[in-house]
């Protein structure tokens, strides 16, 4: 079991919501990963749908590149839609 690959688990907690990353676990194949995810992550009624993806299939950004990837966005507040006056009648904004 030490040789089992790692799987990333995504759970949709309610219909209409998106799947969210819940965590990772070990399993021999995708079927077992689904069953394990059911037991590990949805035992307290957290989900209505599960996706499993073997971790090796995920391409991640390199933290060393965070400077060039993310810092340029920090001083561009005008990209947030915060310069509008929202009328009082509009709720849930």
């Amino acid at each position: 079991m030490k040789n089992w690959p790692l799987w990333e688990i995504f759970v949709r907690s309610k219909n209409g919501l998106e799947h969210r990353h819940f965590g990772s676990l070990h399993a021999a194949d995708s079927d077992m990963a689904l069953e394990n995810a059911r037991d590990v992550y949805t035992r307290r009624n957290e989900g209505v749908s599960i996706w499993v993806v073997e971790s090796k299939h995920i391409t991640a950004s390199n933290p060393e590149n965070n400077g060039e990837l993310f810092e340029p966005a920090q001083d561009k507040v005008y990209r947030h839609p915060t310069f509008y006056d929202v009328p009082d009648e509009v709720k849930h904004m």
Binding site: M32, E35, N36
Partner: protein, 250 residues
Amino acid sequence: MKENLYNYILGIADNSLILGQRLGELTGHGPSLETDIACTNISLDLFGQVRSYFQYAGKVAGDGRSEDDIAMLRKERDYKNVLLVEQPNTDFAYTISRQFLFDAYHLAFLGELQKSTDLTLAAIANKCIKEVSYHERFSSDWVRRLGDGTEESKSKMQQAINDLWVYTDELFHQTEADKAMVTEGIGVDVTQLKNDYYKYVSEVLEEATLEVPDVKYFQKGGKQGIHTEHLGYILAELQYMQRAYPNMQW
């Protein structure tokens, strides 16, 4: 008191109680985090079922005993579970084999119990069958994986199936309470489940490339309260708190 109905409920519930207790022993000891939590989830499902049965049994008994009293304060001979469920965990192959051999029966049994003229039992069966469908899926998947796995997993599975096979026939024995309840349309005629059970179990074992044991002599007695040496130890642990500190509550 409806003696037969009471005994009939206990016969069903004790299987779940003792198997649940066995699986609970794996808490923190499962072969991996994932299988540990899977086995103990099944244990919790079974204990949940037991509560429904014992609450009903308490009502039928009508002598003021609670679900806890019925679960904790009987003597060994008064437990009516089949011998299969009290067998030790031994290793993962045994745990899975025991689970599969019981789940296949349990699922078929609940399918019939849903049709009971006793509406409480029918409702409990209806609720439990979803859980047990998952148990059976989990255990039969593992039988296939381990049987059709490595040399070592295959030989361990075959050993476990061979050893536990002698306890399967008892699942289909009828007690006096069984017969009375079948006549009243309340109980399940387990003798009718036997052929389909062996057919299904054999199919899974063949898929798992395991041999179906050829056994002529089977063990029995649990349903009459005559247990293997293991039950006493299980009860010693299960009942310890209530015996040491009577009426204690969490």
